[in-house]
Amino acid sequence: MVAFEIARVNLLRALRDRTNLFFVFLLPLILIVVLGFAFGGTGTSRVGVVRDGAGTLGDELVAAIEGGELDVDIRDRGSLAALRADVEAGRLDLGLLIPPGYDADLRAGQDVELTLVARPENLYLALGQGIESAVAEQSAQVRAARVAAAATDIDPAAALELARDEREQMDGLRVAASTVGSATFPTIGNPFALGAQSQTVLFMFLTSMTAATQLILTRQLGVSRRMLATPTKVSTILLGELGGRFAIAMMQGLFIVIVSAALFGVGWGSLPGASAVIVSFALIGTGAAMLVGSFARNAEQAGAIGTVLGMLLGALGGAMVPGELFEEPLSTITRLTPHYWAIDAFRDLVFEGVGIEGVLLQLAVLAAYALVLVLIGTWGLRRSLTRG
């Protein structure tokens, strides 16, 4: 079948281009990994600690901060100067200096002052509460041990142990926490899931757009004229070119879906649902590529327009920075891009666990985009092919 053969050649040409190996296969994976590491732990505060010579009580204080209410990542530093420089430059959110001899001084009955290094901004003043509460806990135990040791003849070290045990058993002031509403970001175990969804959409479109340059070359090199000279109908050639573009977009989408599932354990939800989203989005990429391919004057122009358009729509559609973070007017504008609807469908399929029937609205919008783009694209390509 001729149309199938044209499509196959198109796909082969895309696969044989070495550049594509990087942009199609490697870059999306790099970005998924990077986004996963960068934003997977969002909300984690980086707390730098200087605790040389601070002893057991120093380590326990740090452990209490780590196990406290604040989601923290503890990073050790060697000196106050290093701590200060890192806090100033934003490499750390907060810094805590526990002076040398902390443990010994406290046990010897001396009071100790810690230093909390922070930029004078609301966020860090607020995060300081996590440190304050760990300090309050330890301070209360030391106080109890001191008072008990003074009032009875118990050894101070044993008194501290007792204070710790008593705090465990004590029925003091409690906090009952509860939550209302539902979170903007679904709580997901897999830090790579959000990135995998957005990169699938971003790269399916980008790869389709770069494949638009193929169409121009086909025209410039005279391949299309020669095809037309053979007893092949225009509609067959159009179908073949359409199939070629579609195959390239599908290859890109399936590659990310399958590899992210295999390497990072990213889930994709209902099979019919996810397939429908991928197929309709591949058709959107196909249509857009044919549109650009038939109206751009040369390959350079098509490449540049395609890349910029792909990046811009991706960014607006929430495929770079998650759309959940958008505010007005961007949160309205984003709905004009097909990317938004595809990502929204993935979110529902994966995080809400709905089947294909739960994403019919998104699929309808995607199908409408696909239909319009493919129709205009086919018309444009037919015009440019037959014009010669």
Partner: protein, 393 residues
Amino acid sequence: MPAALEIARKDLRQRIRDRSALLVAIVAPFALAALFSMILGGVDQGFHGRWGYVDLDGGELAAALEAGPLQALADEGVIDLEELPSADVARAALQAGQIDTAIIVPAGFSSDYLAGRGGEVQLVVDADAGISAEVARSLLAGFADRADAVQLAVRTAIAAAGGLPSPELVATVTQEARSMPDPVTVADLDVADRQAGYTTYYAGAMAILFVFLTAQFGLTSIHAERRAGTMARILAAPVRWPSVLLGKLIVSLVLSLVSMTVIVLGTGLLLGATWGDPVGLAVLLLAGALSATGIALLAVAFTQTEEQAGAAVAIVTLSLAVLGGSFFPANQSSELLAQLSLVTPHGWFLRGVNDLATGGDVASAAAPALVLVVIGLVCGGLGLLRARRMVTG
């Protein structure tokens, strides 16, 4: 006019007429910088909690909680603290998004607690409260530990005395524990903020990301001229090959400088990016343009066609850009990635931009500029080894 300058002038005119160079050098980086600024602009404004406080107790503990740690946070401007009449009103306010955190002290709380029957404060948070909720939980935990301190001291003393509570012991210990100052205190050391805002950061990130793609426009035309046969004709004229190479190098350098300067000025004027010391900035931009030209020269020297050269530049610089923090601030990721960012020109350039934007002087741009120049000279030098073959074919 020397031949090199003549070639550069002709090529520059050609590139300016070519829209794709304009797109890569100016339009795309500016558009992306504007977009990042728009998306992340709100993040710069920082944290602000909106808390509701419901005091159904009216006792001394509830008053101490409000007048103590809660009021302290409100005074610092970290949170808005609103007194609400009932738990229902607080829940309604949470659902309506007027507050993100509610602290509810139930009736009889103070009297129960002081009578030794314990007590429970209710904390209700919005699912999106995030850090605000963590802060509220930390604050209440700290308050609980301070409130429980005397009771803990009494219990510890009783346990130390063998579990037999004598009225005298309890009285002494209570007295002691109440009057003893906190053994551990925390002093705040406020330090300066030396971190540029997101708008400046991403404007710098896009400038350095796209300058590497821009720099190739001058040098890759060597391949094009060879393929089209114009190179042979140029060399047949009384023009020596180093002049041709110099001409192309000038084009790359000028395009790079123009691209970065326009992005810097444009984002400064239109998006409010701050760039700091102009002399330091000029040094940094020049160094950035040099490193981009050096890498482009290397890529062109070791490839045969424009497409290959373009692909090599794109692959190398995009990989470096990802590591170097052009897409997300490297200092906010893991330690390893933050260290890795300093093997890239992007990482150094962005460090220089950051230091200048936060009030650094010319000297603070020196180290990043030096690293960029060295990268440019080493890569360019390697490229020069094959320069003659590259030009003459």
